[in-house]
């Protein structure tokens, strides 16, 4: 099967905030300033009407895997550059705009990263099955 993605994007994008403990090297004053900037960034998203939801996530959680969820382990998410610390759901016309808004997030300067993912109309397996059915 050729690796073309038949998924159709929607007008919503999920911003996954990646990185926990990026603040470890900051003094309380610096951190206060960064978080003030961060909430100003969030306010900007709300005021411009693109903000559809956001939540910080607890660092501790559970990882469920295996048939019938037989394996449940404590998620080892703390102190990781890759760990997902929270999300924002934005309604914007295209990924370029989502990226532009993400770029203004103040915590990027301290090592956090933002993964910008289009919300899809269908998950990829279903999109592929539908694409095959219409050939």
């Amino acid at each position: 099967m050729p690796d073309t993605n038949p998924q159709k994007p929607t007008d919503e994008f999920l911003l996954l905030i990646r990185g926990t403990h990026w603040n470890a090297a900051l003094s309380p004053d610096e951190l206060q300033r960064v978080m003030t900037d961060f909430y100003a960034w969030v306010d900007g998203l709300v005021k411009s009407g693109v903000h559809r939801g956001a939540q910080p996530l607890m660092e501790e959680g559970k990882l469920v895997h295996g048939a019938k969820g037989a394996s449940v382990t404590d998620g080892a998410f703390a102190e990781s550059k890759e760990a997902i610390a929270g999300y924002f759901l934005l309604a914007v016309p295209d990924i370029a705009e989502a990226v532009r808004l993400a770029q203004a997030c103040p915590i990027l300067a301290y090592g956090a990263q933002i993964e910008v993912r289009p919300i899809a109309e269908l998950c990829r397996p279903m999109a592929e099955i539908k694409a095959m059915a219409t050939v």
């Binding site: 969820g69 997902i84 990226v99 203004a104």
Partner: protein
């Protein structure tokens, strides 16, 4: 319809009276269907969609969306680094999410254990959604100490 489990640990949350917290299920793993016959993949997906539908109907799930395979990674000061991503191998890529209400992390985990895609290699990262991020909370606690 209520799904009954034979595992006694899974009984308590089944009739949820007043779920107090919200949890995010991050569905981790992509391309799990690539090595299955399409009919089997469709069968697995039908089961998955029926499960999500039942969670939504029962008011347990408040939202569920799939994510497109590719997006962008934004990093660095002023977001100066923009790359095609995610970089992770397919089995570590977040493929979608489900937001659920539950009384505890354990109850949320028990719900996650019923996901029909687990047997096809999907993993679920179950995380509580919090009203204030840990960093802000820490700042407020520090401020409270200073003013105490």
């Amino acid at each position: 319809m209520r799904i009954r489990s034979s595992d006694p640990r899974n009984q308590n949350h089944i009739t949820m009276s007043n779920p107090t917290s919200e949890y995010l299920f991050l569905l981790v793993g992509y391309d799990w269907h690539k090595f299955m016959p399409p009919a089997d993949a469709k069968h697995a997906l039908d089961k998955m969609m029926a499960w999500v539908d039942s969670l939504m109907t029962e008011g347990i799930a408040t939202g569920a969306r799939p994510l497109a395979r590719t997006g962008k990674i934004v990093a660095g000061k002023n977001g100066s680094v923009v790359a095609d991503g995610p970089f992770a191998e397919a089995k570590e890529v977040v493929g979608g999410y489900i937001a659920v209400k539950a009384d505890s992390l354990e109850a949320a985990t028990a719900i996650a254990q019923r996901c029909p895609l687990l047997e096809h290699g999907i993993k679920i990262d179950v995380r509580e959604m919090v009203q204030k991020c840990a960093i802000t909370k820490g700042l407020r606690e520090e401020a409270a100490l200073v003013h105490a």
